[in-house]
């Protein structure tokens, strides 16, 4: 059992599956069940293969006929790639469980043939990226990943908005890969090799390629201020796709950062500080905008931005600590980053699955139309709630464990860093993190309360049914994983920290302890709950009556808090960031006392989009228009171009 087996087993099987889907799609009978089963089987197979390979690191180079043009495909299977491909396998497996039940409600909207072909290619390319050991393999797989995911985002391409989102995503990801190519080529001209392990970022002139690479990765990961594409792409895509994109694909850049920059020994303070700033800002920015969203999946997308920010922050702390020669802190931060990748991957797919279940049962993702699902879809509610608790890092779930590690690394660096400025920054970051955590709580309490509790706000939500069994199973699977990783965090942390991530071939792998008594805590909480329930509530006489309405008669859903009104006090506080505006108009005779119609409209402007990105695009298209003016159609003009070019060339000839 070695890298070759994993490579062939996974990649080739996925390729074959894609081929099968392609062939079947011409007969117009692609069975979602069969395809999902294939997906589950392959994911489970690769997972078991991964587990059976032990801890050694293999490198595998494809033999001569299987080349990418000129270059061999080289793979490296070590702790890092094991971790990520295991996560990918888990997510793919649950997606396979989830798909058949979910895709049914897209019947007629999307062509399943195209969907499955691009889906399998997507899965293949993601495995390829996290297994790749050199720049060529990496960039090839990376581009396939971008193209196939864009195709998946555009699955339902009859809507104009979906097309727009897919194009924005394509553009963003192409810019990212352009920057990456620049960085890779630069590194190649510096180090004369395509293999990541030969690249050394410690040298002074490697700072510029490092900058290009980190920018490219940040764009793909949706880090502030490059996160614009993310809130477009996730709502547009089917839930399965957004689950994988948000759960794994935006972690792939993190993998790249660790594999290339961290293991390449990056220590340039400029880059590290840049990563630190970007990470903390996007953690805050993401959660802040998540708070004021009303589309369920858009909100989840923003929360992904927050979590990616946290991960990047942890990475930056690790690099800082390594540069300051504090290996203990560095190991804690590194473990925190990767553990958070794992947790967020699982949790976010869980949340997107639940959102998808809601979408296909209540036929809407708009929080203004949801509500009261708790009584109709208890399973979905339960899994969504647990996912939300975990992403709010509520103990004893896994979200808390990784958040605690991040806190701990900051705490330690506050104590151990030499300079007072560093201490101060670390403290301020602790403060920021706690604020981010509280905002996340606010956001997800809003979703849970407005989306699932209370009265239904629309007819569709009124008549939603519980999702199908497959969906429930997939959610349950992920819930168990989340809870397990939370309760047995100490083992997970020790395992991850021993994957020797900071430097791939260090002799003594670090060990990070997770001292919190999670199992005891969970046990205590559970048993206390049980006791209290049995002692007090079980035996109490219960009378069902309507909610208190101040004697006005039946409450309507209008009197319930909407998602906007719930978020309003917080949005007010952060008005300058959000450009938060409410303009309310009251119609009616003597408006204050006898209102007939009251409309309140909340406006939130994304400054980056309106102030930076759109103007830049406008400038580019202006240049293009100007250039097109040259093609004016007059042949005399064209001949003049020839003559003037001749003159220019002759002048150049005299110069050179």
């Amino acid at each position: 059992m070695n890298a070759a087996v994993i490579f062939w087993g996974t990649i080739v099987f996925l390729a074959l599956a894609a081929l099968a889907a392609f062939v079947l799609s011409h007969k117009k009978n692609v069975s979602n069940k069969v395809m999902s089963f294939l997906l589950c089987a392959i994911a489970a197979g690769s997972l078991s293969a991964l587990c059976s390979t032990g801890f050694h690191s293999y490198t595998y180079v494809t033999p001569a006929p299987f080349l990418l043009g000129v270059f061999p495909v080289t793979f490296r299977l070590d702790g890092l790639s094991r971790l990520f491909s295991a996560l990918l396998s888990l997510i793919l497996f649950s997606t396979g469980l989830f798909s058949p039940g979910y895709l049914n409600h897209l019947k007629g909207k999307i062509s399943f043939g195209q969907y499955w072909v691009s889906f399998f290619l997507f899965a293949l390319s993601m495995y390829g990226v996290v297994l790749s050991a050199d720049a060529i393999t990496f960039i090839v797989m990376w581009e396939i990943m971008s193209l196939s995911s864009a195709a998946l985002v555009a699955s339902d391409h009859s809507h104009h908005l979906v097309q727009k989102s897919a194009l924005i995503y394509l553009g963003a990801t192409r810019i990212a890969s352009g920057l990456l190519c620049g960085g890779f080529l630069w590194m190649h001209s510096l180090c004369g090799s395509w293999t990541f392990s030969d690249w050394n970022f410690a040298s002074a002139q490697a700072i510029f390629p490092a900058l290009l690479i980190i920018l490219g990765f940040c764009i793909k990961a949706g880090v502030w201020p490059f996160h614009i594409w993310l809130p477009y792409a996730h709502p547009a895509a089917p839930a399965t796709v957004s689950a994988i994109m948000s759960g794994f694909m935006i972690k792939v850049p993190i993998y790249g950062l660790v594999r290339i920059l961290v293991q390449g020994g990056l220590s340039a303070p400029e880059i590290v500080n840049l990563a630190f700033i970007l990470g903390s800002v996007s953690a805050f920015w993401g959660v802040l905008f998540a708070l004021v969203q009303n589309d369920l999946k858009r909100l989840l997308a923003y929360s992904s931005i927050e979590n990616i920010g946290l991960i990047l922050l942890a990475l930056a702390i690790a690099l800082k600590a390594r540069a300051a020669n504090l290996p203990v802190v560095a190991d804690i931060a590194m473990t925190a980053a990767l553990f958070h990748c794992l947790n967020h991957g699982l949790v976010k797919s869980l949340l997107f699955f639940s959102a998808g279940a809601v979408d296909c049962q209540a036929h809407t993702r708009d929080l203004h139309k949801l509500g009261g699902l708790a009584r109709r879809m208890p399973w979905t509610m339960a899994s969504f709630f647990i996912g939300s608790f975990s992403i709010c890092s509520i103990p004893p779930l896994n979200g808390f464990a990784s958040k605690w590690l991040i806190y701990q690394s900051l705490f330690q660096s506050t104590m151990l860093f030499g300079s007072y400025i560093e201490k101060g920054i670390a403290l301020a970051t602790i403060c920021l993190l706690s604020a981010v955590g509280a905002l996340a709580i606010a956001t997800f309490v809003k979703v849970m309360g407005v989306g699932f509790l209370g009265m239904s706000r629309s007819h569709a939500a009124e008549h939603a049914q519980e999702a199908s069994t497959g969906i429930k199973i997939s959610q349950g699977f992920l819930v168990v994983l989340c809870a397990g990783l939370g309760v047995f965090a100490s083992h997970a942390v020790k395992f991850i920290s021993q994957l020797s991530l900071m430097s791939p071939d260090s002799v003594a792998p670090a060990t990070v302890e997770f001292p919190l008594p999670m199992p005891v805590l969970a046990l205590m909480l559970f048993s206390t709950c049980l006791v209290i329930y049995l002692v007090f509530l079980q035996s109490s006489k219960v009378r069902i009556f309507k909610t208190w309405d101040c004697g006005f008669g039946a409450l309507s859903t209008k009197t319930q808090a909407s998602s906007e009104s719930f978020a309003q006090p917080l949005a007010r506080i952060f008005r300058p960031f959000l450009r938060y505006e409410t303009n309310s108009t009251i119609k009616g005779r003597d408006r204050r006392h006898f209102p007939e119609e009251i409309t309140v409209e909340v406006k939130i402007v994304s400054i980056l989009e309106s102030r930076i990105y759109l103007p830049v695009l406008a400038v580019i298209s202006l240049i293009a228009k100007g250039l097109a003016k040259l093609q004016a159609g007059s042949i005399h003009l064209y001949l003049l171009y020839v003559c003037s070019t001749l003159v220019i060339l002759l002048l150049l000839g005299t110069v050179l």
Binding site: G633, I635, C643
Partner: protein, 215 residues
């Protein structure tokens, strides 16, 4: 001192410059014919001084095909389409003429830098004449609006290049020379045919109005 070859090519250049001055197609074509005759003469003289047998036949070919055939063909075309003068140039003809005379002077300056040819009889007079013919041709192509005018300009350019070749390198290998000549003839024939089609579909041959294909 100035050899007779120089004299003939220079007169060709001057004739071409004068040609720019008028819009009368017939006159233009005759003057072009005269220019080309001068060039044929120059070729013959070179052949005689260097006893190059194949230059003789090149000279003959030029005299027959380029100096007589092409002008007659174009003349016939313009008669068929009954266009007798260009509909007007981008810049007024006298100005264009002075421009090309100025360019003639400029070409003397430009070609001074060129190393003296090894074997050809004549020095930079020939080169200057050739370059100035090239310039003149460009001026014609850039200023004339009629399709025929542009063909004429192209022919002048081609003459210039030939003169340059003749005076700098004593003519190119015969095979190449033939190929060039053939290509040029086919080109002129094809563009003449195009001129007919243009007249047929646009009711004019003013190429400055052909601007429908653009961004």
């Amino acid at each position: 001192m100035m050899s007779s070859v120089d004299l003939s090519v220079l007169s060709a250049a001057v004739l071409a410059c004068l040609m720019v001055g008028t819009l009368h197609l017939r006159l233009n074509l005759w003057m072009y014919g005269a220019t080309t005759m001068c060039i044929a003469l120059a070729t013959a003289l070179t052949a005689q001084t260097h006893a190059e047998i194949n230059l003789i036949c090149v000279a003959l070919l030029i005299a027959v095909l380029k100096a007589a055939g092409i002008p007659l063909f174009l003349l016939w075309t313009s008669e068929k389409l009954n266009v007798h003068r260009d509909v007007g140039a981008m810049i007024p003809p006298p100005l264009a003429m002075h421009l090309s005379i100025g360019l003639l002077a400029l070409s003397f300056i430009l070609t001074r830098g060129l190393p003296a040819p090894e074997m050809a009889a004549t020095g930079w007079y020939g080169a200057a004449a050739g370059i100035s013919l090239l310039f003149t041709g460009l001026v014609v192509m850039l200023t004339r609006r009629l399709a025929i005018g542009q063909i004429l300009g192209f022919l002048v350019i081609e003459n210039g290049i030939y003169v340059f070749a003749l005076t700098q390198t004593l003519g190119m290998p015969l095979l190449v020379e033939m190929g060039v000549l053939l290509d040029m003839l086919v080109g002129v024939m094809f563009s003449g045919l195009l001129v007919f089609r243009i007249q047929k579909s646009f009711e004019h041959i003013d190429v400055a109005q052909l601007t429908s294909l653009k961004e």
